[in-house]
């Protein structure tokens, strides 16, 4: 290896060209998925409401690249990106958002409750901060079973002000559980800015209260996210305990679709668009890995078609029959 190639490898965190292409593809999938939902929601095509994560793609993709397939994650109400990066099937996700029987949860959960336990995806969650204790439980389970698995709890700046944040991290730290707490700080809890809702500069600073590593990372760079997540995963697997990682990021759309977004300045929005995670990758990292603009464009077009297929699948899937309301409440209804 030449000195230059060593330097490039370090900048790319040791990821191969193939891995980088695959990670870019995941980011593009999330972006296209969310943009499409934005469009479909505005057209009145989707029941209920959705919370989109466009702008935050580098975090789930960077973190998931550091995980093994059987590791666990817990997610949030803004969970589509986590699901996609964890490998949940796109058709089943979209069908779920459309409330169809072919949905991953048979249409019973919707956008806020997408889960795929077989893939280690333990559920999006409609309650802010509720996923953290559940994730600690998955990490406890891994430890008791000596399975070597880790669990990542994704949460937001908003959740960091909930009591469950404290309870979960404290429990994980005293028991050295194989757990990562990944805060996607997108600056806003609904309409309320972190400038208002906390007195510390970084949520990662709160790690000091649990004597665990607290790391701030550029959430717009999937490679930087991957790098810090990899270290935290190694630490967790080795039995050294949890880490708190704060990825500074931004959501392009509102808290929910239909939110008029009157609480942010145009200047701020523009600033983050200039740091778009897909552009950051394309401009800063792709050339070093000998990935050309055409390579990326090919992926973009392929993903566009893939999402269109998923929309058609969801659209053509049947709606559930009323009787389905009563199934899946219990495993056993009758006494044994």
């Amino acid at each position: 290896m030449t000195i230059d190639s060593v330097k490039v490898a370090a900048q790319l965190a040791g990821l191969s060209r193939q891995q980088l292409l695959s990670m870019y593809e995941q980011m593009r999938t999330i972006r296209t998925f969310e943009d499409k939902l934005h469009e479909l929601f505005a057209a009145g095509d989707i029941p209920g409401f959705v919370h989109l994560s466009a702008g935050q793609e580098a975090v789930p993709v960077g973190v998931m690249a550091a995980l093994a397939a059987d590791d666990f994650i817990t997610s949030t109400h803004r969970g589509h990106g986590h699901c996609i990066a964890k490998g949940v099937d796109l058709n089943s996700m979209l069908a779920e958002i459309y409330g169809r029987t072919t949905g991953i949860c048979k249409g019973k959960g919707g956008s806020m409750h997408i889960a795929d336990i077989d893939k280690g995806m333990l559920g999006a969650n409609g309650i802010v901060g509720a996923g953290l204790p559940l994730g600690v439980g998955a990490a406890l389970s891994a430890k008791v079973r000596s399975s070597g698995q880790v669990c990542v709890c994704f949460f937001s700046d908003g959740a960091s002000n909930q009591g469950t944040f404290h309870e979960a991290i404290n429990m994980a730290s005293i028991w050295d559980l194989p757990c990562l707490f990944i805060c996607e700080n997108n600056k806003y809890a609904e309409s309320t800015s972190t400038d208002y809702s906390m007195r510390v500069e970084n949520i990662a600073d709160r790690a000091a209260a649990y004597n665990i590593p607290g790391i701030v990372v550029d959430g717009q760079s999937m490679i930087d996210v991957y790098r810090v997540a990899t270290e935290a995963v190694e630490r967790a697997r080795s039995g050294a305990g949890p880490s708190l990682i704060e990825a500074k990021t931004y959501r392009y759309y509102g808290h929910f679709e239909g939110d008029a977004m009157t609480y942010r300045t145009e200047e701020e929005v523009n600033h983050f668009h200039e740091r778009d995670p897909l552009t950051v990758f394309a401009e800063q990292f792709a050339p070093q890995a000998e990935i050309s603009p055409q390579d990326l464009l090919d992926i973009d077009q392929q993903i566009e078609r893939r999402i269109q297929e998923a929309v058609e699948f969801a659209h053509s899937s049947p709606l559930p029959q009323s009787e389905e309301c009563l199934t899946d409440v219990y495993v056993n209804y009758k006494s044994e």
């Binding site: 336990i117 204790p133 469950t164 495993v331």
Partner: protein, 337 residues
Amino acid sequence: MTLRELSYREAINEALVEEMERDEHVILIGEDVAGAPQSDDPDMLDAWGGVLGVTKGLVGRFGKSRVLDTPITESAIIGAATGAAATGLRPVAELMFSSFVGVCLDQVANQAAKMRYMFGGKARIPLTIRTTIGAGIGAAAQHSDSNYSLFTHYPGLKCVVPSNPADAKGLLKSAIRDDDPIIFFENKVLYDTKGPVPDGEHLVPLGQGRIALEGSDVTIVALSRMVLVALEAAEQLAHEGIRAEVIDPRTISPLDETLILESVKKTERIVVVDEDNPRCSMATDIIALVATKAFDHLDAPPAMVTAPHSPVPFSPPLEKFYVPSADQIVSAVRAML
């Protein structure tokens, strides 16, 4: 079948030991379930075995990795137990007093209870939450509720209210083996009560009530400790020539509706005895069941004997007034005959 006299406390402890022996995926998690987790001295480690001594000896037998003393952190206890249940363990979590549910209701009602349904039937949450209910030991308003109706309200949860040592053991074993989240309500006033418990493997199925006393004149449905009070009332009534049938549903979700309805069809009268507050309670629920499904069989308006619509008071005479008594049951029965 050989029977042994065990206390309610001993019966529960025995059920835990047997299920932990049987299945290594069963773990215990809660506050003070051992009693001194900071210690490595085996005697000190097992200092308490739970504040009421129910889990005594378990940490010595199964070790700290399966008997997990937690900080005071109810959301994390119930949440972690739920997450562990979804990922391969069969946890028994302890919520020291059911009144504490206020600080972890989200994890009980929004997470554990709903996960299977929200995820389209793909999750299994084999979680047992042991908790205590009951007034009568001067524990006052925030440690004495009998708030099981709150949990019964939530689809996805099963609720168990054993009234005696044999049922406590057999139902707890069934609860631990069940794949749904279960709240197991132990009445703290019953811990020292004794009763016969069958030797060997003893399982009581969930959803099957029992006739605690056969009778033909009136049906008295009673829950948890109130079964004992109802039996006392039935004895008084027997002296007057009134033969009361006492029904112990044992589980309230699912509820053995058939047993209650069949008894009412026979006796044509019903009194429900419930230590919970009266509004939106199991008493109103059971009376609604009878009114809607056996109205034509009733010879008298249904009656309920419950705690008043007040928090549980501290002072002994007030607490005594709060808890339903045998005399109140006797009066209610006399009034309908």
